[in-house]
Symmetry: C2
């Protein structure tokens, strides 16, 4: 027997809705996610999700926020790396790995489906993740505020992640390059560039 | 009065189908493109497109091929730049500009909608474009075959193009970075890295 909405405590239903939205996202992609289907998956009435979320956009923003928190945690849990070049390389690899582990969530977080400006918590956590990258670049000796360099580093890792997800690094070019090797190569060139420019 | 299929010479109908497919791609995205709608736009019978293309995938592959030819032309028409660093920077900027000018065509060419292996002409022209980038890197003193470096450069420009198309470089981070400035910054760091590594 499926639970009714009365069986959920406040936080439980919210988490169940997020889990169901993530499942649906993974099964069918962003275009197919809808409030009615989420309610059906959780086993509650069509109206129940609206106790927590004004609309689908608000629910997806909360899901993207949870994704940024997970990425933030992965950065925080990198083995203590005091050396900033090793930390930079590990962050780039972690970004690409996250995209590979959670492709649909990563597309939601970094694609064009969501307008972050309407969602303060999402904006805050995405800025915190970016600030983490800026700090790593400052530790590498880049002049403050290191925004341009942080954006360039992000773009580089983003391109690797995207080409890998879209299977552009595989056999069509007769290349045997995998995303992990490529992001390491790109990070090595990028770091050598920063050393040369500072 | 719309033309009937009898009004088209062989090459004309083919080009009309490609143009209609590109229009539909721009209007509604890759998911909405279909043979019947293409035929309707051109004003021919549902069966007429099949005189040129076995299926939608074959038509889209031909459209992507024309996109790669255009990108190749843009690279060929860069003002004669003898200095390889200036050429590399101009190629990166051209790639990002192409994505901005032809977003849906660029997504078709570099996204996951098409399996290139089934389309020899598409494979050939995409390999020619990649070879052009490799040659530029060889001129920069990178050791042959410069595949890893070319892939890293492509990923960097691809990430800038994608983040710009998905409007991730704008107000949500309180950043005033535009794609042209970012790709220049990224190319500058990349080139400094190559100089440092060689």
């Amino acid at each position: 027997m499926r639970p009714s909405s009365g069986d959920y405590h406040h936080g439980n239903l919210r988490q169940a809705l997020l889990d169901a939205a993530h499942e649906q996202l993974c099964d069918a992609g962003i275009g197919a996610v809808g409030m009615r289907e989420i309610a059906r998956r959780v086993g509650v009435s069509h109206a129940a999700p609206y106790r927590h979320y004004a609309n689908l956009d608000a629910l997806l923003a909360d899901l993207a926020t949870s994704g940024f928190r997970e990425l933030e945690q992965r950065f925080a849990h990198l083995p203590a790396i005091a050396e900033p070049e090793a930390r930079f390389t590990a962050m780039a690899a972690t970004y690409v790995e996250f995209a590979s582990d959670r492709p649909q969530l990563w597309r939601l977080m970094f694609g064009d489906a969501l307008d972050k400006t309407g969602h303060p918590q999402l904006l805050e956590v995405s800025q915190a993740v970016f600030a983490n990258l800026q700090e790593t670049l400052l530790a590498l000796g880049v002049a403050a505020p290191a925004i341009n360099e942080a954006l360039a580093a992000w773009a580089m890792a983003h391109g690797v992640a995207r080409l890998a997800l879209d299977r552009r690094l595989d056999a069509h070019l007769n290349l045997a390059m995998d995303a992990n090797t490529l992001v390491d190569t790109a990070a090595r060139i990028f770091l050598a560039g920063l050393r040369n420019l500072r």
